[in-house]
Amino acid sequence: MDQMAEHGQEVKLVGAWHSPYVHRVAWVLKLKGIAYEFVEENLNKKSSLLLSCNPVYKKIPVLVHHGKPIVESLFIIEYIDETWKDNPILPTDPYEKAMARFWAPLIDEMLLEGSRKVPYAEEEQLEKQIQQVSEAMEVLEGMLKGKKFFGGEKIGFLDITFRWMTIWLGAIEEVAGVKFFNSGKYPLLEDWKNKFIGFHVVKDNLYPMEKLVRFFKKYR
């Protein structure tokens, strides 16, 4: 509570409801009990706030703390962990932290960037994207061996970074008529997905699958 009073003033999260990068930051803020104002951006008509906060990439999410902008979801999460030190999100062991820093952006690239094009891809491209997503899921399946969560006994940084997957991929599966999760090929990931849905903080943040499906269909 003390650290909230000291640091908790003026936290804004600039983002869009359909972005998994925004959601992972929102979940971290909620897990740490940090009050914030959410500023919804229309990515087809970017606000002057966004353009001034992120002039380099003009992308969301942007965390604004005491008027200073921080960008890139993974860097934002590190910033949050370093500023509000209770309930650390990243592993405390330096080697485990290094592994988390190595895998998070790599899986983002393979899984998130691979899958986001699936609803719009032409047939040839589609094969390639599906292949990329499958490779990523195999890696994740391997990482879960002998563990309850990616973070071990409890939810950790990687669980939070990959959490979006269960809703996002589900929506893409429905829109594109492909199967990622429900193919039976990744039993540990299936288990993980089901465990995670029960976790109450995250449950508050489940963004509606139906809304996401409509969103994908609109831009198809």
């Binding site: 921080i70 934002i76 590190e78 910033y79 370093e82 500023t83 290094a98 820093r101 190595f102």
Partner: protein, 223 residues
Amino acid sequence: MADEVKLFGMWASPYSLRVELALKLKGIPYEYIEEDLSNKSSLLLKYNPVHQKIPVLVHNGKPVAESSVILEYIDEIWRDNPVLPQDPYDRAMARFWAKFIDEKIQPTARNANLAEEKEREQAVEECCQQLKMLENELQGKPFFGGDTMGYLDIAALVIAFWFEVVREVVGLDLITEERFPILCKWIGKLQDIDVINECRPPKEKHVNYVRARYEAAKAAASN
């Protein structure tokens, strides 16, 4: 128990240099293993199965890959002479700009250097816009890290030294005094730092190496 630190690197790699420099700046003893990238050792493949690339730091038998990840790891294990800034906001900025160098500046510079004449002007313009954004981070400071070198200076060494070698080979001068007076001043300061000169690839050997790769890339592009 004494720490065992090994670095798998390559003499002409700016990523390898980042790690070497950080280890030297922090006074960490290490064993350096030179990799032949055309014939990678089984140890390298074992320690970095995902990317099979250097640099890889192996600390007491445990491997860490990716130069930015390695630098953060080093700072957390050996806490003297920190390479990253202390303030969380400054850390976020340093991380952002280091990533920008690798994901934006390096590829656009490569495009500019390999571009055909008709595309060159636009490619150069794009690269220069990005370099300008980075240069702005130096405003009023001798180094990106402030009074002394830090994480972002180390990440940006590729711009200081690799770009000049490519200029000698390709003939394209991206970082002119006229366009980037502050960056040029920063590069001048780096050239006077002993520990950097100890780690840098020897100039002539480096030029020959880059020339061979450039000619191969040009040949491949025209086929």
